[in-house]
């Protein structure tokens, strides 16, 4: 009898089953998720690449049309000689104007720099070139695929107001900054200037024919004449190049119209005049405002620069105190009489740099934390805009002496500065990492441990603040300010001093320091500082 066929079938079935098993197993195991192929993300850099591409394609066309033979010769408008500008594409800011237009502000640091003659007086014995910042702002057209540029030049009033590229841009001017911003078209027609004065006053400056009735005079304006000079690197006549240096010195007397008041009251667009004729404004190239349909370059209208408000304090005492600390940074580092102290180099730099990085201070009702304690103040790391926030508790501010408030603001500013340094200074970051390891992976302890290096600096700043602005005029004795500077330098979650400051405690008497801090924080009758009432 032949073997039953089912045996053969079963053999086939078993092989088939094995095949099926393997196939299914492969299918099942193939269900285990594999990492997806990386996708190229559209980043700011790639958006900037579009701007760059547009600029490379159009840079030779970015000129306003010549209008009249007297252009640049008899006109009183400010026109600087044109020079090729090569943006440093690695250094840029990305932001939006209030009307929603996208802006890429790119550094022109390596290009030829021009500055008003007056700036030379602001930097005695120094090269103003090192303090002038010039950027090119590419403003995306709201509907067309174009990025017409403007040139922005930043002239600080003095070296203390010099901010590097990272810390100033047209959309973020520190409210305590003193200086001037000039806005030009790409081909160097002056649009408008903005001046930020020491007392907080702001002015706009326009150039042009003084008698032109179309000149904006919307506020309290006055006319003055001034000289502008520039140098071109080619041999000039003996008049222009009397020493035969191979450079031509140009000079022009122009009329300035200076308007004072809040910048918000002024037109937000620049105006260019040629031969006294209305030539361009933000709406277009002719008085009817119909624009320039055939122009290759369409200078975009620009709003006034946006101030970055640091001081958001509502409490008048705290606000006034903060202004004095922020504006008086050079005074805070006065070492008269104490200059023989061995001071860590970063200590003074901390307060010299105060205000040169973006932070914001406000007064709030701080919540009671998990330990049932309401903090006096806190500092947060940068938000999505890169701004560090300091918060002062309202009830603390209402009870504390001004000495305690000044100490707290100095302490929190030190935190803010350290956060800033940790993001910008690699060596500092490495040092902070070492503190992190030494303090058993505790971030607050690492920062307070490192801040102990600023202890003398904070004490001296507090003393100088009181001497110059405080109610007790620096008469409390350096020892008292020194003890105050220990405030906040605690082991996280305890009342114990951070280990780094223990050797610095006078006579090892920590309780005395705690008592002084408590007296000043609560403004009790043991406090030697004074609780000020700013509402009177």
């Amino acid at each position: 009898m032949p073997p039953p066929k089912y045996k053969n079938l079963s053999r086939f079935g078993f092989l088939g089953f094995l095949g099926l098993l393997i196939t299914m197993n492969l299918l099942v195991t193939s269900c285990v998720q594999e990492p997806e192929a990386p996708q190229i993300k559209l980043t700011e850099s790639s958006q900037l690449a579009k701007v760059r591409s547009w600029f490379e394609e159009n840079k030779t066309k970015l000129r306003l049309p010549d209008k009249g033979s007297k252009f640049r010769t008899e006109s009183q408008e400010l026109i600087l000689p044109f020079f090729e500008k090569e943006p440093d594409w690695d250094k840029f800011h990305h932001y939006y104007f209030p009307d929603g237009r996208e802006v890429f502000e790119v550094s022109l640091e390596n290009a030829t720099k021009y500055f008003p003659v007056s700036i030379i007086d602001s930097f005695p014995n120094k090269n103003p070139n090192n303090y002038v910042l010039q950027n090119i702002m590419f403003v995306k057209h709201p509907t067309e695929n174009r990025f017409d540029p403007l040139i922005a030049r930043y002239f600080p009033n003095n070296p203390d107001n010099y901010f590097d590229f990272q810390n100033i841009n047209y959309n973020s001017i520190n409210e305590f900054w003193e200086g001037r911003i000039d806005l030009f078209t790409y081909d160097e027609h002056h649009l408008i200037s903005f001046e930020f004065l020491p007392d907080g006053e702001k002015r706009t400056i326009s150039y042009g024919a003084s008698s032109n009735s179309k000149f904006r005079t919307l506020s309290d304006c006055r006319e003055i004449t001034r000289e502008i000079t520039w140098v071109t690197p080619s041999p000039g006549s003996t008049v222009d190049d009397p020493l035969g240096l191979g450079a031509t010195y140009h000079s022009k007397i122009i009329t300035e119209v200076v308007c004072t008041g809040s910048m918000g009251e002024f037109p937000t667009t620049g105006t260019v005049y040629v031969d006294g004729t209305y030539y361009y404004n933000g709406d277009g190239f002719d008085p009817s405002g119909s624009g320039c349909g055939t122009c290759d370059y369409n200078p975009p209208p620009a709003p006034a620069p946006s101030l970055f408000i640091i001081n958001g304090l509502d409490n008048p005492c705290t606000s006034d105190l903060f202004k004095k600390l922020a504006k008086g940074a050079p005074n805070l580092t006065d070492m008269t009489g104490i200059s023989n102290l061995d001071i860590f180099p970063w200590m003074l730099e901390l307060f010299r740099q105060g205000g040169k990085f973006n932070y914001y201070i406000e007064d709030v009702d701080l919540p009671v934390n998990a330990q049932g304690i309401r903090p006096n103040a806190q500092t947060k790391i940068p938000d999505s805009q890169g701004n560090i926030t300091i918060q002062i508790d309202n009830s603390y501010a209402n009870n504390a002496t001004s000495l305690s408030l000044a100490r707290t603001i100095i302490h929190e500013t030190a935190h803010a500065y350290m956060i800033y340094l940790s993001k910008t200074n690699y060596e500092f970051r490495i040092e902070l990492n070492n503190y992190y390891i030494a303090h058993n992976n505790s971030t607050p302890d690492a920062n307070h441990g490192m801040m102990s290096q600023y202890l003398f600096g904070m004490a001296i700043s507090l003393y100088n603040w009181d001497k110059n602005s405080g109610p007790t005029s620096g008469t409390l004795g350096l020892d008292y300010y020194y003890k105050m500077a220990f405030g906040g330098l605690l082991q996280n979650g305890t009342a114990n001093p951070i280990s780094d400051v223990v050797p610095m405690i006078p006579n090892g008497d920590w309780n005395t320091i705690l008592q002084i801090l408590e007296n000043e924080a609560t403004g009790n009758n043991m406090a030697r500082g004074i609780k000020e009432n700013c509402n009177d």
Binding site: Q33, P35, P375, N376, Q378, S384, K423, R429, N492
Partner: protein, 195 residues
């Protein structure tokens, strides 16, 4: 009779085949489920390499570290570290030309983060595990236990998210052929200094 035998044999074949296929499907299901269970079990355990990263994270500290005995599956930190790796800040400066790709992989891998048990036996003595979500400090105040994410390993880089009361940090490690995993830097996703 012979015809009946043939019919019977055919019926038998059908029964055997049906039985065979039914059992085969059961076996297949069993194997598939076992595979899935094994795969899940494997996915729910930290690998040896991940333990080595955790070890490197706390190896330099002076005293013991207490961490929660499960990893956390918090993922939104990926959005907070973007400025650091895209050049706005420089807490973790890198010259590695491959790092942008690593960062892209990191973004993709965050979706796989899950809660996993941490085994004390796999850790060095200075890292203690706790079942309690709160700890008590020397003043008797309660504070949350430190929690970490499972280490995400991409080529010779590893990333661990570390969450304490006042700080949420992303640690970055790089593997050295001789020294093993080395802590390179950390990025602050959230830090508040309370005074």
């Amino acid at each position: 009779m012979k015809q009946q035998e043939i019919i019977w044999q055919e019926e038998l074949k059908k029964i055997v085949m049906t039985n065979f296929i039914f059992k085969g499907i059961l076996v297949l299901l069993f194997i598939c489920l076992t595979n899935i269970a094994k795969s899940q079990e494997k996915n729910n355990r930290l690998s040896d390499e991940q333990y080595r990263v955790i070890e490197a994270m706390y190896s330099k500290g002076k005293s013991e570290i207490i961490i929660f005995n499960e990893t956390i599956d918090y993922k939104s930190w990926i959005n907070l570290i973007k400025p650091e790796f895209e050049g706005n800040y420089s807490s973790c400066p890198f010259e590695d030309p491959h790092f942008p790709k690593i960062y892209e992989r990191l973004i993709l891998m965050t979706s796989t983060i899950s809660i996993k048990k941490i085994e004390q036996s796999q850790l060095p003595p200075n890292i203690k595990l706790s079942k309690n979500s709160l700890q008590t400090n020397e003043l008797g105040h309660l504070y949350p236990t430190r929690r970490i994410s499972e280490p995400l390993i991409i080529n010779n880089y590893a990333f661990v998210f570390d969450k304490t009361e006042n700080a949420e940090l992303l640690f970055l490690f790089k593997k050295d052929k001789e020294k093993g995993w080395e802590w390179k830097c950390f990025i602050e996703c959230y830090v508040v200094f309370i005074d």
